[in-house]
Symmetry: C2
Subunit: 206 residues, 2 copies
Amino acid sequence: MVRRSGRRPGNQDTKQSILESARKVFAERGFDKASIRAIAGEAQVDPALVHHYFGTKEKLFLASMNSPIDPAEVIPKAMAGPPEEAGERLVRLVLGVWDSPAGAAAVALFRSALSNEWTARLMREFVVTQVLRRAVAELGIDEAQAATRAALVATQIAGLAVVRYVLRVEPVASAPTEQLVAAIGPNVQRYLTGDLPGVFETGDGH
Amino acid sequence: MVRRSGRRPGNQDTKQSILESARKVFAERGFDKASIRAIAGEAQVDPALVHHYFGTKEKLFLASMNSPIDPAEVIPKAMAGPPEEAGERLVRLVLGVWDSPAGAAAVALFRSALSNEWTARLMREFVVTQVLRRAVAELGIDEAQAATRAALVATQIAGLAVVRYVLRVEPVASAPTEQLVAAIGPNVQRYLTGDLPGVFETGDGH
């Protein structure tokens, strides 16, 4: 295998180099067009080594984002259940992650994404390809409407993060989870499955 | 009058010094508790000079935030009209400001507010005291519910800014104003005047 020469020896150096290359390539090309091969090339290592350390492209992306959760695991669980309560479950899920000890890292990442063009691209790729795409797929939302509904959901979820964790506007900053679920869940639900006249030609999404 | 000694002579230096002091005092004490006297003290100038240059505390706050608009002027206009369409009008207003040439500065400020604790406090004070407080006052919303409804509105409006201007998630990033008004307006309306069971004990806000 090809190793990049670095100041520090050992695997840690190679892993860090791969993660940095992954962030660069994911930000530049987007998740879908980024390949393990391109990331390996950027890091000057063999693609097999990237697979060995990080597994799939999804897993490498999660590692490069320091994601405290794996959306492939938690999104299907959160979306399972009555479709008409999916909005509430989604709000409950994100509050559960962000309010957890691991959530501080997610909030810090979100904050950094908002101040830096490059991190913003990574965050957008993460939110769109790992979170929203999975959520709308689980709900079986009409493909022609999926991207719009997902982006509208993103406006509400991102804003909840901004107001609760970054700007800390009361009473949202200190509100109990279930109060926010009751307040915000139905609005997310409307974006997911509601009629959106003026947005889509047919009102019922089918 | 007392002048702070600075490297550059003239009024511009004093004005900048007052604006810096204003940002510091507004961030530390909040808008309501900040006084022209405290800001003048921080800048080592006479309070009369602050009044002379900037007028009221509100005007000084707007100047210190480089606000492209005066919420005291635009909010009452935007809120006038059928109460059941206030949500749509508010979305139309903010998109109108942000999409305007002056809006780039507002978006840059918002971005900086999200990455810096100190700017975040200023932004929160601005949003709460200058924008949301005026909006809910114009609508005559029950005082006991006003802060909650305003903060919920903030979650949607802040998230719209994040997704459209910072993360630039499509199709929201490029959507025409009226499509976003149709999509997001009713959700803002629910926060402003809708029943919010699980949030307030009585459902109708009265």
